[in-house]
Symmetry: C2
Amino acid sequence: MSKSSVTTTAPSRLAVMNFLNEVADDYPNAISFASGRPAENFFELDDWLGAIPRFQRHLTARRGADLEDTGRWLAQYGRTNGLINDLVAAQLQVDEGVPATPERVVVTAGCQEALALCMHALCKRPGDVVLARCPTYIGVTGVADLAGISLHALDEGGDELAAQVRHAAQALAAQGRRARALYLIPEFDNPTGSVLPRAAREAVLAACAELGIVILEDNPYGMFRFDGEREPPLAALDDRGVVIYLGTYSKTLCPAVRVGCAVLPPTLFGDAAASAALLAELGERKSFLTVNTSQINQALVGGVLLAEQGSLARLVAAPLTHYRRNRDALVDALALHFRGTPVRWNRPAGGFFLTVDLPFAFERREVLRCAGEYRVIPMPMTFFSLGGGHRRRVRLAFSNQTPESIAAGVERFASFVHDHMEVAS
Amino acid sequence: MSKSSVTTTAPSRLAVMNFLNEVADDYPNAISFASGRPAENFFELDDWLGAIPRFQRHLTARRGADLEDTGRWLAQYGRTNGLINDLVAAQLQVDEGVPATPERVVVTAGCQEALALCMHALCKRPGDVVLARCPTYIGVTGVADLAGISLHALDEGGDELAAQVRHAAQALAAQGRRARALYLIPEFDNPTGSVLPRAAREAVLAACAELGIVILEDNPYGMFRFDGEREPPLAALDDRGVVIYLGTYSKTLCPAVRVGCAVLPPTLFGDAAASAALLAELGERKSFLTVNTSQINQALVGGVLLAEQGSLARLVAAPLTHYRRNRDALVDALALHFRGTPVRWNRPAGGFFLTVDLPFAFERREVLRCAGEYRVIPMPMTFFSLGGGHRRRVRLAFSNQTPESIAAGVERFASFVHDHMEVAS
């Protein structure tokens, strides 16, 4: 087989984690494009903490109790699947076009918990495999490695994704294994920045419905579109019970809230009982991992959603403008320094990440040289690869930057690239 | 073998979970001794939220930044192993006598996450087994079942615990399996309320050191001692690198903070590198489950610890008095109604739970009859059993009650017991 399933080895995953965590600290004078953290100058933590009493009043009315009693109730253990499911479902409907209903929402301690719960619940047998485009988000690789779940790499491409899914499912079945889930970030993918075209969404939904493969649709960046019209999320196109939608408030509010969610479809491939059983299993698994998502954090998110009349569109307007300006600055700087060279890049229509293709391999050694000698840190794409490929690509995160730092960083990166190519030629 | 390893089956675990979650709702007029929730009339959520700015000022000084910058930093992603490790370590030293140091602390999303991370990291091979006294806390059973980790039941007893551990380790080794960890709540055990005597602590430490078995010492109730002198925690007696200490702020503050911790020993059985590797692995596993514990929640706990000069002794004084009064009310009511009968009970020196031994089996059917006809809900001990034993025992949680509700509840329970014995005789 040309494309076998790979479970990345612990050292490479650890290397990436350590790299992500340490490289910026090790080179404090470098401009880092490594980490896709949200821009922190838009965090309004004091305001958001101030929204907790608003939620408390709302809850008091809902419970028919007094405010003090509700405060004590809020501080107690809570329902495993969440307290603000109605507000979350409503926001997902309005802001993301996801047809969520409260009883199908599990509120989680960040989206990563939702992803881990789903992967654990869906892949219980040794031959159960998760399909993922390659390169992919490291959170998937990490869960798979730690739980001993095999990943099967799909080429990153868009239009032929459904064909790849069919081919992979067949190849796995021939080995007595099962493709159980497909992990996807259709909007502004991490790490590539790409958007899955509408036709490809329809095709991959049809393929997965036919093959009984659950799509884990992760959508952290959907509210950060710079150009063009929003594509409907897979969850909105799904009328066959294929898609579990994963959401997060880490990017629209801030990471410290640690509130995310999974939204299950009304049926699993037409079977309502199967969806209900999966929902119950996610709750059970959560009850033995984090018990319930902090009701303080849920009250904060709930209070903000109440204050914002159910939509985060107003709150993300300023960071969206910031991210668009950064994307523009990055594309402009790349054009300035690399036009007429073999270097290529994409122009992401949203999100936090851009991909640059280089005419030479850029891996650990190159990034350390960049950081040390040129004071700029691009992220080798091979770090996100499932099998060590994508050696000539880098990911540039432009979210937690300024146009000025981007211009300076690309200039430094261009110096490295030109020097490197000169030596090589 | 008379005592084989058991992995409890999913239905029984689910039954317990559902029972715990639903029975009080299903019988709203019943007095419930089922759930060991902390007493909520001592929760001061508004005050504790008000401690966040205090921590923010503290952090600002530590970082040498301005307050606003620190607020944004706090709202961002954080260090996987925690932000308030120094304050947690200091509090554990002062309040619990645990020789913790900040760099050996992992701050977790509640103690349950700490327990799950440790069990996952310690039991990676199919033959790896966790020893637990029977009956035991359902959080252990749940993690084991969901991760496919085998549990081996030890008799509940105290003084002969070390001998049981040796015997179990031998029996497992004969099967080609390995006893990897021993789960213990030495102070005011859940579900039994018992305290492990000092000599038994020393003996079990020696046995585990010799056999290479990590002790997971869970101590949620240590600060709630009613009578007598505190026994040192196993972590304080451990000079051989045997004990991982698990802590929580759910009982001393409130469950909604969802902040707990694991404290690793300086060495694992004398091997400092092994302890460091385990610490790194816990962090890695955490990074793919909850990323990091919410810095908002950590700031709340940190702010309270700063406000209280590092100790929670003052804060727990009032709930401690409340719990002691409830224990007294419970013991008095039991004596009033059951003196001269075959019913027996213990007098726990602290914690949230008391055990009653009945002269007949008390299981699902009996508790439903109690709840429906007698409007009182005791918890069948067999729900906490690893192999279905302890059928003639119940657990009475007295934490979230009043002396009046306890007196009324025991009176109702006594009616049931007398009626039941009359029918049986």
